[in-house]
Every structure is written in C-alpha cells, then in structure tokens.
Amino acid sequence: MDRRIVESRITLPGKLLGKARRVSLSDVVVALAVMVMLYGIVRVGRGTAVSFAPETNRSIDTAVRNLPYYAARSLLRMFIALAASLVFSFVYAYAAARSRRAGKVLIPALDILQSVPILGFLSITVTGFIALFPGSLLGLEMASIFAIFTSQAWNMTFSFYHSLVTVPAELDELSKMLRLTRWQRFWRIDVPNGAIGLIWNGMMSMGGGWFFLVASEAITVSNKQYSLPGIGSFAGAAIADGDLVKVGWAILAMVVLVVGVNVLFWRPLVAWSELFRNEQSESASVTRSFVLDLLRRSHWPRALAALRCRMAVPLDAAMGRVFGTDDVVLETDEADRRLGDVVFWFVIGGLTAYGTWKLYSFVAHDEGPAVFWRPFWLGAVTFVRVIVLIVFATLIWVPIGAKIGLNPKAARIAQPLVQVLASFPANFLFPFATFIFIRTGLSLDIGGIVLMSLGAQWYILFNAIAGAMEIPSDLREAMEDLDVRGWQLWRRLIIPGVFPSYVTGGITASGGAWNASIVAETVTYGGVTLTATGLGAYIAAASETGDMRHVLAGVVVMSFYVVSINRFIWQPLFKVAQERYSL
C-alpha cells in the first residue's frame, strides 16, 4: 500500500506496474490467500486472548530528559525492521524470481499485500504477537517492528525482484559460463545489480516507516492501552495530556532523528552505491556525502575489506556446497514438469478455497454478506476524501514542484528538504491540527482531508520536482528559442515532461492517504475525540473495541478499494506515461 517510490527510473518496477494486467483467476486466488493469512493471525490471537494480562503496561514518563532514551529505543526498532525487510526482500524476491511456480503466486501476492492498509492490520497483529509472547513486552515490541516492517518490505522486495529479473542477459550468461555457485552469484551479481534500487527504496521506505512507528508504539486494542517506551508513545502521552510544549519537544527530537539518519546513514549509502551503477561511463551528477568521504579517508574500509576477504573464502566454499552451482539445465522432463504444476496448483487452490470459506464464515458470522455493505459505503466516503486530496495536492504542488525542478539551484536545496518533510511522521502534527479544529469547530469530515494530506502531499511535490529535473535542457532551450512561453510552454513541455514522475507520486500519495485515513478520521486531543464518517474511522472504532470481525471486514474492503484504484486509475495512467511521455 504505502509505496515510497520516488525515483521512478530506479525504483518503479515498471514491468509490474506498466502492464495493465487483466484481472486473472490467479490474482483472485492470491488475494484471497492473503486475506486467509490475516484471518489466521486473528484466530491465533483470539484463541489465546483469554490469557491476556494487563501486566507490563508501564506508563510513559513524559519528562523531557527521558526523550533521548525513548528516541534511541524508537531508532533501534526502525533499524531492526529495516534489517528484517532487507532479509525478507532477499528471500522472497529470490524465490519469486528463480522459481517459476513460486513467482506466479508470490508476485501477485505482493501486489495485494502492499495494498492492505497496515494500520488497519495493526490491532490484529498486536493481539497476535502479545499472544505469542505472553508476560513480556516482547510481543508489543514485535508488533511495532512488524508494523514498520510491513510498511517497508513490499517496496524493497518489488525493487529487488525487479532487478533480479532484469539482470543483464550477458551477466546471467557470464555466471553460468563461469559456473559460479548460486551463493557467489547472489553476492557478486544479483545483490550489487539491485543495490541502487534497494538502497533508494530502503531510504524512502524508512522515511515512510516513521509514521507507522509513531502509530504503533501507543495503541488501544480491545479497550486496553498498550505503550512501548519510544518517541511515538512519548508524543502520545503528551497529546493525551494536552501538553503542546512537550509535543513540540517530541517533534524536535523527531526532526533530529529523521535528519540524523539521513545524513549519517542514507546519504553515505546512496553515494557509495554509485559504484553499482551499471553504466559504462561515469555519470555527470554524483551524490556526495561528507560522511562517506570521511570514512573513505579512514583506514576502516581497508581493514574491513581484509577481514571480509578472509571470511569470504571459507564462507563461499561452504555456502557454495549448500546452495549448489548456478547451472543450466539442458534436459528437462516435460511430463514431470506438468505433473508438478498440476500438484502445485491443486494444493494452492485447495488451501485457498478452504481458507476463503473459513474467512468468509468468520467475517460474515450471522450477518451474511451484509457485513460488507457498511464498510463499502463508508469506503466511498473516504474515497471522495482521497480524490479531493489528490486533486488539491496536484493543483498546488505540481506547478510549484515543476518551477523548483526547472531551477537546478532551487532543486538542489529543495529536494532533500522535501524528502525530510515526507519522512516526517505526519501523525505528530495531528494534535496541532486537532487543536485548531476544536477551537474553530471545523468538522473532521472536512478536517480529515487536511490530516490525511499532511503526509501524502509531499510525494506529489517530490516527484514533480524530480520530473521537472529530468526534462532535458536542450528541449527547454529549443522552446525558449521558438519563443514558446506561458501556458503554451506548460501545456507542450512541462506537464508532459513531469507526467510520468507525477503518476509515481500519485500512486504513493493515494496509497498513503488511504492508510492515513485510519488514524485521521478519529483523533483525540486532551480528552476530546473528533470522529469523521468514513472507512478509516470504522476500522479504528472496531479495533479499539477488539471487534476483529469488523476490523477484518473493513480491511478487506479497504484493500479492495486500493487495489481497484491502482488497477483502474493509476496503472492505465502509468502505461500512458511510459509509452507516450517517457523522456
């Protein structure tokens, strides 16, 4: 759902998005299978819910001096989630790319997974994880990390899968000719080849992850409040107290975290990843990082390289034996293969059918299919909010972004700034907005749009800037030479030039807005709760009371909306962008 895809050239799995695939039977099967998985987690959680104890729920001390410690705890969570996402993308993407059968299931599944609203899912996973680790904070900790993980993993996996299936043919042949072991190939060809995309997506995903960190550290499930020591729960406590000064401190700490991680971690990585650019000549503009320069000047890299070499040889040999050689199979048995296919699809189909039936009977219970009507109509209301948001954000930010992007100097300053803005968890700003809503008496039905846009709009701005930067300067000079200016210039050059990049931003923004609706359609500040009519509020209310049946119904419907919008609005636009307007 939450696609933090910004640099279209690198990160967008064009092949996957670009092909407006017809909704095939396998898509439906997979979608159902994913829902079945969710249902499984709920069942695990529900079955053990009895043993729930309200223990371990330490309260958050909102003294400002505790903030650095809380921030560190939050940061740790973020990095654990990032590492988990990385490992997940390695395994999942590799399986999808290398196994013909697995790929047919895993890739559509990923498409659905990234459309599932993570926040709606949160109460379900919290219940599940607490049940897994009774009597300790570990369950909550895991649930929080899992929430962040789900906001990052799908994107990174898509990116890595895309780079795996687009490994240049000659490198693939090279590997087979040299008889590299699969292990060697993975680390010397596959991972370096996907490194730039992974790092970019990791950076963008982590930016998005802060939002889920904040949302998942303090949460109410089944009328019980849980909180983990962290910056999000600190802010949550401050909000509950109605203490805007402390919220301000939390925001400051958050800014330090976001900027710090960017400067100390991501920029050096991005600059370093230039090494992996599969271009046969040096590119003109190279990302620079003073941290990386500093590191390069030190002796650490050489020492580490020596250590790596010493470890790599035995590890290579051992893993080479485990995973085997990247060989070519010159003779295959057609009959065996077909039989395998039949068995595989039979098992998958059977499990999915059974699970779907169980899921349906759980959700429908005694209500029948009517259980989906209410979320469906509420979803339409939220959909209107998303549309209004996208239209306004487009009208405001595309012209501004394009103007910035056309001016290289402004773009250099603005781009990292907007990136930080996009990373900054918008839910931190909710109390201020809520405060204003309460004062002015503005209904959350309207105000909710503003809250949702606090996070989502930046993707449109960021991508408008990136798109305008990609317009070749000779085209602009030609237009100037022909005296094309004003509206005509926008119509003929700038809007078509920005369009492909804009679509990428639009997909991200719309997915983000749906997710945000779950926290934006119900807000509390200092004891006052505002609620809007919408699917987000429906899911939030159901999870607060522990009504898993309706949470699941809401999540299913919201996933349906997101998938349909992507399929029927964004993918066709993306196709047009790729075919007509790619520069």
Binding site: P168, E173, K176, M177, R179, L275, Q280, D316, L330
Partner: protein, 455 residues
C-alpha cells in the same frame, strides 16, 4: 565433396568442405541441432539441422546476418542454451550443463561494473575454488599478457571500450579453456580499436604457452571472418541453416587488398544475401523462386533507414560501377556496415550487385539525382512494388473502409516469421520507408497505421 575453385589469379583457395572427413576427432560437435523459440504467434525456428564440428587448431567463423541464429548457435555450443532437439558434444561427451571446455567473450563485454579489473578476471578462478595468492598470480599473468598492466585496480567504467574488451579476453583466458568462444567481440568497438584488437587476438592465437586449441567467432562482418578464420560457416536466415562452408587458406597476416581477399569477401557477400554460392553454382533453395509469391516473411526488409540507403545511392551516383570494397575504402567503413543499405537498394531495384560490383540502375540514378519531392515519388512507387512488407501494408490499408489498421495486426503477421525483436525491426523499417514515401502514416498515440492521403 571438396570442390576446388580457381581464383582469378590462378591458385586454388576455396574448398567446400561439407561432410569432408577430418583426420582428428573434433573438440566440439553439434548433432542435428534444432532450436525453436515459443512466440505469441507460434513457434519460431531459429536454427535447423545444424551439424558442425570444431577441430583442434582452427579458427572457425560463424557468419550470418542478424536473425540468422549465429549467436544462438554459439550459446548452444557453450551449453548456455538447450537445443530443442539434437545435442552438442564436447570431446565426444554429450553436454548436460555449461560446456566445461569453453570460455566466452561477449559482444558487450559483460564486465561487473562494481568490481575492479583484477576482481573481474579472478571471478572465474574463484568459481573453480582457486583463491588467494594463486588466483591473483594467475590473474596478473594474464592481465600482463593482454596489455592491461597498470589497470588492475581500475573499474571498468574508467576504461575505454578497447581496454574493457581486453578485460573480457583476460577473463576468458585465465581459466585456460580449450575453446575460446567469441560473440561479435569487436562489433561494439570503433573501427581502429577493433582492428588493433583483432591483431592482438591473432598474436595470442599464435602463442604456444596458451592452452587454447580452437577459437569459434561469431560475426556479421565478412571481412573480419576472412581476416581471422581458417574456416567460415555461413548461416542463412529463417530458419538458420548452414548455407555454405568455406576453407580459407590464406597465409597470415592477411592482406585486405589482395585479390584473393577481395574475391572471398565478395563471394561471401553473395552467399550471405542468398543468391549464389561462392563457387558460382546457383543453389536452388537460396534463389527465390519467382513463381512463388514474395512475402514479408520470405523477403524481409533489410534493416536500413531511408537516410542510409539514399546516402549510399548518392555515393554510388558519383562513383562509376565499383566493388563494395571500393565503397568501403572510400567511406573508411567495412562492407558489413552498409550491407543493409546496399541490400535495400537492390531490393528496390535502385542498384544491382554482380560479382561484388555494385552499380545504380536507371531508376536508382533517377532516385539519387531527383529533388526531394521527386525522389519521394520514385521511392514510393518502387517500395510498393518491390518491398513485400510495404506492399502488404498499403494493400491491407486500402482494403479497409477507413484506411487505417492497428499496428498489432501487422505485428501478428510478422510474428509468424520473425522473433520479437526482428518483428519490431521489420515494422519500424516499413514505417520508416512508408513515411518517407508518404504511403502511410503511423499514429503512435493510437498505435494505428493509416493511409497518407487520409491522414
């Protein structure tokens, strides 16, 4: 079966060697090899009935136009692609995985951009479990031999094209293969660099401290084949079959300007373009049967742009009838570089090629000399009549009421005879020709072709 052929200067230098018994056991043998690809429009036969042997001590060139399946054949020999039927043997053993006795040099170098020259060379050794000091010693020896000294720690992107291909050579040589496979190794390089590297390849080949017993080189460049090879196998297109096998007994170094050299090049040109075999015999399956219809599949458009072919026509107009090699010399190019344009001129009836002499016809002279509107009209008329695909498109468009058809319609027709890439190339060429002749127009937004008069 051997047919000695007398050159104009008297000596015997061309021998057809199909089925000629060889004294030593072959290193590599392909047996009734057939390769097909499944395409949306059905099955496409890329190679059919390929029986060839690679012997110790020879440089074998696989020569063919694009689409003749020569690179596919090389990959089958390397064990990177499975033949659909038939098989490949290495030293009498049937291949079940990548060929253990070969190493390949790639057209696009296939260097890992994230590794240094030395790491790129060592990777093949590491795959064989040779690491550490031994690996670097062996790598450095080859790096030194190939003239890459001092570049060990450079990254590929810091090197020129020629230096990159040297790294490709070094990587292929370091594992001591018996047979060196080369897939158009010089075609991504500029003319001078390519010539230089060809010389170095021959130098390496003549060394006796290298265990390479044979080289198989794939090329579309006739001169390159004659310059390097002891034996040339010409592959025809659609499906790729062995058309001709020619032994080249010229002494090395070979002189491009010698009579024999030119005679061979021109003979091979005729074979490649499908008229006569080198020994002057007309080959039945190669000469189009005029009673049969010329179809887009049987007579593919040469992939030449209108700019290219009219440029060549203008050059030919200035020169009297001359040989293709003369034109090549004049332009500082190689025959292969403008072969498609020459073929296009021939297809359109603007030029004739006879025994390697190319000259403009009357209509060709009119085409070259006319002003732009006039030459467009001449071009349009000839393209409709003589270029099957262009004719088919015009007729199809005229037969529809609204004079337009989706390009997918023609794509589907082409897919029956061509692969995906060739289909696109055929269609692009036809569109390029049709647009120039103002016969039809291509609307990219609608993916439609429509008659020009209605556009």
């Amino acid at each position: 079966m051997a047919t000695p052929v007398q050159g104009r200067t008297g000596e015997v230098f061309v021998v057809r060697t199909q089925n000629e018994p060889q004294d030593s056991a072959p290193l590599i043998r392909t047996v009734a090899l057939r390769k097909t690809f499944d395409l949306p429009g059905g099955e496409k036969v890329v190679l059919d009935g390929i029986d060839l042997e690679v012997h110790e001590g020879e440089v074998l060139a696989l020569l063919g136009k694009s689409g003749s399946g020569k690179s596919t054949l090389l990959r089958c020999i390397a064990g990177l692609l499975a033949p659909t039927t038939g098989h490949v043997e290495y030293r009498g053993e049937r291949l079940t995985e990548a060929n253990p006795g070969t190493s390949m040099v790639f057209q696009t170098f296939a260097l890992l951009p994230w590794e240094t020259v030395q790491q790129n060379v060592e990777i093949g050794l590491e795959a064989r479990g040779i690491t550490g000091a031994e690996a670097s010693q062996r790598a450095l020896r080859v790096i030194d031999m190939i003239g890459l000294d001092g570049f060990e720690t450079a990254y590929p992107k810091e090197l020129s094209g020629g230096m990159r291909q040297r790294v490709g050579f070094a990587r292929a040589l370091v594992t001591d293969p018996e047979v060196l496979l080369m897939d158009e190794p010089f075609s991504a390089l500029d003319v001078l660099t390519a010539e230089n590297l060809r010389g170095e390849l021959l130098e390496i080949w003549s060394r006796d401290d290298i265990p390479i017993k044979s080289i198989v080189i794939v090329t579309h460049n006739i001169e390159e084949a004659v310059l390097l090879a002891d034996r040339v196998i010409v592959l025809g297109s659609n499906p790729g079959r062995i058309r001709e096998e020619i032994r080249i007994n010229l002494d090395r170094p070979r002189d491009r300007r010698s009579r024999q050299f030119e005679f061979l090049v021109e003979g091979l040109y005729r074979t490649m373009t499908g008229r006569v075999s080198v020994d002057g015999e007309t080959q039945e399956d190669l000469v189009p049967d005029e009673t049969q219809q010329r179809t887009p599949g049987s007579h593919p458009l040469p992939v030449a742009t209108v700019d290219g072919l009219s440029g060549l026509a203008e050059i030919l107009e200035r020169f009297a009838p001359c040989t293709l090699s003369d034109v090549a010399d004049e332009l500082g190019l190689q025959v292969g570089d403008f072969l498609p344009s020459a073929e296009a001129l021939e297809m359109l009836g603007f030029a004739t090629v006879d025994r390697g002499n190319i000259s403009l016809t009357d209509s060709g002279r009119m085409f070259a000399g006319a002003d732009i509107q006039m030459s467009k009209e001449i071009f349009a008329e000839e393209a409709r009549q003589r270029a099957p695909l262009v004719g088919v498109i015009v007729n199809a468009l005229q037969s529809t009421g609204k004079g337009s058809l989706p390009s997918g319609f023609f794509r589907d027709i082409l897919r029956r005879s061509f692969g995906e890439a060739d289909t696109e190339m055929q269609l692009d060429t036809a569109i390029n020709w049709g647009r120039y002749g103002e016969l039809f127009e291509f609307d990219a937004s609608q993916e439609n072709l429509r008659l020009e008069s209605l556009a």
